[in-house]
Structures are given as C-alpha cells and as structure tokens.
C-alpha cells in the first residue's frame, strides 16, 4: 500500500516538476474541489451531476488559465518548482487531505475524477477511430531480445509479466475489488460479469494508452523515458544519445525535441519519466488531429496531465486514509484508545506516520541518481504480482476446501504461472550479477567504487549520489527479499491446505470450510447484463408485484 501510494505520487511529481502550467492547473483542483464540497453539503445536497458539470467547467478554465499564468513572468517564477519541492508539497498536501472530512475534498474530487475519466476514455476512443494514427513502431523492439533496455532493464521474461498491466493479473486490483465488488451486486452470480466486464474495460483503457504511446515518434519516446543520467537533460545530448541506440527508422533532431516541448507548452520534455507525460504527449498528438490542430496541443497535453493527476491525488488521499485506519486498528490492539476513529490525536499521529512512510519512498525515488521510476517500478511490479499470486493461492485453498477438485485447474494454472514469473523476477532482482538488474550487484558495484575512493561512478556524478545509490539499492533489495519470502510462505500454506483437502476427501473425511451458509436473495435480479428468456419472464412477474409487497416485513 505504502509503495503503491509512493509510486503514484512519484508519477505526479515527475509530471509536474519544472512545469509551471501543470503546477498551477493541478493546484487549482484543490479550491475547485473545496467549492464543490461546500456546494454539495450546504447549497444543493445530492445534485451530483450538476456540481460535476460546474466543476468540469472550472477545471477547463484552470487548464486554460494555467497556460496564461505560465506565460507571465511572475507565474513562471512562482510555479516553476523543482521535483524535491513538489514532493514536499505533495507530502504536506497528503497529510492535510487525509485528515480533512471526506465531504470537503475527497468526495467531490471523486466525482470530478470519474467525470473526467469517462470523458477522456470515450473521447480518446472516438479520436483514435477518426484520426487513425499510424503506428511506426516495429512489432519487436531492438531491445526485446536483450537485457539492457534503457527504460527498464532485464529480459522480456520475466519482467514483461511483472509490469503492472490493467486488465491482466494484478494483486492491487484483487485487493480493491474484494472490498468493492460485493457492494455493487444484487446477487452473488453477478460478480462473474462485474469481474469479467471490469477486466475488459481495463484492457480497453490499457490498449487506448498503448495506442497513444506507440503513435508518437519512437525517438521521442526514448528521449522522454530514459533517466536524465543517460539523456543528459539537454535536447542536443538527448538527440545524440537516442540516435546512438541504433534503433531502426529513428533519426531524431534536437529541433524536434524542442519543437514538441514548445507545442505542449513545456520547457523541456527530455527525461520526463513516469509514463504520465508520455501518455499526455500521445493523447495530445492524437487529439490535436481530431480537434484544434497544433495550436490546441498544449491544451490537450495539460488536459491529460490534469486527468492523470486528479485520479492519482484521489488515490493518494484515499490510500493514506486506508493505511491510517489499518495502523490505528493495529495500535488499537495494544492501546484501545487508538481504535476510536474520531479521536483526533490518534488519527493525526497515524496519518503522519503513514505519510512519512510513503514520503520517504517518494523522496528516495525523486532524488535517486538512477532515476527513481526506473528502479522502483520493478519493485512495485513484483510486489503487485506477488500479491496476485497470494490472492490466487487463497482462492485455490478455498476452492479445494469446498471440494470442487474438477475445476481446481482453473485456479491452479494461473497461480503456477504467476508464481513462476514473480519468483523468477525476484530471484533475478536479488541474485543477478548484472548491476543493471540485480539490486545487490548494483549495491556491491557502487560500494566498491566508494571504497576505491572514486568521485563518480556510472550515472552517479558525486560521492553523495553514489552513497544514495548504495542506500537505495540496499533498501530495495531487502524489500524484495521480504516480499518474496512472505509470498512463498503463503503459497506453500495454500498448497498444503489443498493437498490436505484432497487427501481428506479421498479418505472420506468430510472437509470443513469456513464459508458462510448461502442466503437466498430477497430481491430478484438477472445474473448477467443480458437476461435469459427465463429471467425475462421472472423479471416481468417481479415488476408486477407492488413495491411495498416485494419484501417480507422485517417488522420495524
């Protein structure tokens, strides 16, 4: 949880760093959300659509206003912030947002974020169909068969499969949906189409993002996503570096890099890692061909940044809240007072601890000489997929205990795949002798350089930077070890439980499962999106029952 929040925050920091326009328009979302919160609470409660549209209009004004403010001298001076300052700002914001009441900030921003999300996805889908962007990227990149790609190091197997992919296997989604799906359904069988439909929608979004990312120039992609240590941060060095990669069909000029930056209203687009700026450039590239032309490109770029920042900030705020409650609960086992959610000092203390936890990871990522996203992302991906393997292991044990061995392979197969992929990836991250892949190999290389009294080594240009690499790789390495050991314990326990259930059944011992007994539904609803003939008949019958006669009287 802490790592997820930190990575999300890091994406925002990377997108807003050195970008006065972005800082202003994303900053404006806070007063807009506060206004919406007050409107919904006191002026017109429950008018969600109305306030969302008002908020959306303000949001567009903030994006356009951001462009004007960034052009003025004072605006550029005030809102031009480096990444460390933004990271600290985000920390303070995260703390305040997590202790404010939900109605004031989180709930209105949730509405705004949902509104934007649906709008962007529908619009981008339309634009892709109308514009039909040309994909110039080859089916297999030159880096596919190698282990030293500049954006993410390591071989395609296993690292492709630990990249968090919406619509594919993801532990984080397993965790979130376990809590939310039961609240969305009218009966248990509907979970099947919620789960499957959710997966399809996620892949739809993922493919849209993929189209946006591969329709921009390949050279541009590498110039944007490689760490500053490789590109050298200026357009000239970045262009030289990208051309030296020997990619087919790539011949990028410094002029194209500065022209693209000017088109999207930024000072530079070199080494804007984290994915959000790349997606924003891709989206702007497609949308400007649909509406507005090059003149509108800066608007579309910041529109995309806004859309990403909005839901990431909501996730950061909500994540901090959830983590705070978990901590309060744990401490509450020893000091009962902490269990009271309304006890201010406890809530504030726990919020501060959780913010400090993700803040430390965030600052580590922001200041990392190797490029924080590039080193933290594998850790995040592996942790996420290990969580997915744990989720599958738990499901395996449940299915086995219920005695449905005929269908056990449906769970066992993906579990085996996930376990092999994540354990291989962890193994390589921990034991690989290649410094670019193995955390400890990198740690040893930098420690040795320090011991030899070198003043710079690899991408770290100062002794302090070298010490930072040693510290960061040690933390990341030990985190990987802890994650994989815990996961192996859970998976092994689940497999043992499965074997025991199978033996018990063969021996004729009745298995005991911990499932709640089935409760017949009190309402009628079809199981899928399209009701079957029999369900339609029942639905018609159900509709004929007067509303106040549908349920048995509870008697209160």
């Amino acid at each position: 949880m802490v790592i997820i929040v930190a990575i999300l925050a890091l994406v925002v920091v990377n997108a807003l760093g050195e970008s006065p326009w972005g800082v202003f328009s994303v900053g404006m979302t806070i007063p807009i959300a506060l206004f919406m919160g007050v409107y919904l609470r006191y002026l017109r409660p429950g008018k969600v659509m109305e306030v969302s549209i008002i908020g959306f209009v303000f949001l567009m004004a903030a994006i356009i206003g951001g462009g004007l403010v960034a052009q003025t001298e004072w605006g550029a001076a005030v809102f031009h912030l480096d990444k460390v300052t933004i990271a600290w700002g985000l920390l303070i914001y995260g703390f305040i947002a997590a202790i404010l009441p939900v109605w004031l900030l989180l709930a209105p921003r949730d509405y705004l974020s949902t509104f934007m999300k649906i709008g962007v996805i529908v619009m981008l889908a339309l634009a892709i169909i109308v514009v039909r962007p040309e994909v110039t990227v080859p089916a297999f990149s030159e880096f596919a068969g190698r282990e030293n790609g500049p954006v993410l190091s390591g071989a395609l197997f296993p690292f492709l499969f630990v990249t968090i992919a919406c619509g594919a296997l993801s532990g984080f989604h397993a965790l979130i949906s376990s809590g939310t799906t039961p609240k969305l359904v009218e009966k248990e069988r509907q979970t099947r189409y919620i789960g499957y439909g959710g997966m399809l929608m996620e892949s739809f979004v993922a493919i849209m993002a993929l189209v946006a990312a591969i329709s921009i120039d390949r050279g541009l992609y590498f110039a944007m996503n490689a760490p500053a240590a490789l590109t050298g941060s200026s357009v000239e060095t970045a262009a030289t570096w990208v051309n030296s990669l020997g990619l087919s069909g790539v011949n990028i000029t410094p002029g194209l890099l500065s022209e693209t930056a000017a088109n999207v209203g930024e000072q530079s687009i070199v080494s804007r890692t984290g994915g959000a700026p790349t997606l924003a450039v891709g989206l702007a590239h497609i949308m400007q061909q649909f509406i507005g032309g090059t003149a509108m490109m800066a608007f579309w770029y910041h529109f995309a940044i806004m859309f990403e920042a909005l839901f990431i900030l909501t996730a950061v705020d909500a994540g901090t809240r959830v983590a705070r409650f978990m901590l309060q609960d744990s401490i509450g086992n020893f000091v009962p007072k902490f269990k009271e959610a309304s006890w201010r000092p406890g809530a504030w203390l726990c919020t501060a601890i959780m913010v400090a936890a993700w803040g430390a990871v965030l600052l580590m990522g922001v200041t990392d000489p190797l490029g924080g996203i590039n080193t933290l992302f594998p850790l995040f991906g592996i942790a996420n997929q290990l969580l997915a393997a744990i989720a599958l292991a738990v499901v395996l044990a449940i299915v086995a205990k219920r005695g449905t061995f005929k269908y056990l392979w449906i769970v066992a197969l993906p579990l085996a795949f996930a376990a092999v992929v994540t354990i291989t990836a962890s193994y390589q991250k921990i034991f690989s002798p290649v410094p670019a892949v193995g955390y400890f190999a990198n740690n040893a290389a930098f420690s040795k350089a320090l011991a030899d009294g070198k003043q710079e080594f690899g991408t770290a240009k100062t002794v302090a930077a070298m010490e930072a690499v040693v510290r960061n790789t040690a933390i990341q390495g030990w985190l990987s070890v802890i994650f994989v050991v815990l996961s192996i314990i859970v998976i092994a326990t689940a497999v043992l439980a499965t074997v025991k259930a199978f033996r018990d059944r063969s021996a004729g011992i009745a298995s005991t499962d911990n499932e709640d007994p089935a409760v017949p539904s009190r309402v009628f609803a079809p199981a899928g999106l399209v009701p079957t003939a029999a369900e339609r008949e029942l639905a018609a019958e159900w509709a004929r029952v007067p509303a106040d006669a549908r349920l048995e009287r509870a008697g209160h």
Binding site: P45, G46, S52, W103, T314
Partner: protein, 67 residues
C-alpha cells in the same frame, strides 16, 4: 417533428440517467426505493440528511482506489 424531438429528448434523458448511475448520483433515489420496499415504519431520511450520512460513513470507513 415533435415526435422526433420527443424521441431525442427521451434518449438524452436516458443517457443522462445512465451517466448519473455511473457517477453514483442516483444513490438517494435508490435508497428511497429500498426504504419503501423494505417497509420500514419510520420516515426515510431527507435528501440532505442522506448525503450527509453517506459522506460521514465514508469518513469512518475509507475505501481504496485504483485506476
């Protein structure tokens, strides 16, 4: 002509209702429906009380978010 307009208006209303459903704007209407069907004796919460209660509940039971 007017029949066509009515059809368009109807379609638009349906679309707005669908969008409202996706956004969670119809929570109070759903609550009223449930309240009626469940046959509670006491009067339902007013719209203002309902939304206040809803956000206060979110305050004490935070939920995670994902993409």
């Amino acid at each position: 002509m007017s029949a066509g307009m009515a059809l368009v208006a109807n379609g638009f209303r349906g679309f707005a209702r669908y969008l409202g459903g996706v956004m969670g704007a119809d929570a109070y209407a759903k609550y009223l429906e449930h309240h009626r069907e469940a046959g509670h004796q006491e009067a339902p919460l007013s719209e203002r009380e309902f939304w206040r209660d809803r956000t206060d509940r979110q305050d004490s039971n935070p939920q995670g978010r994902c993409c």
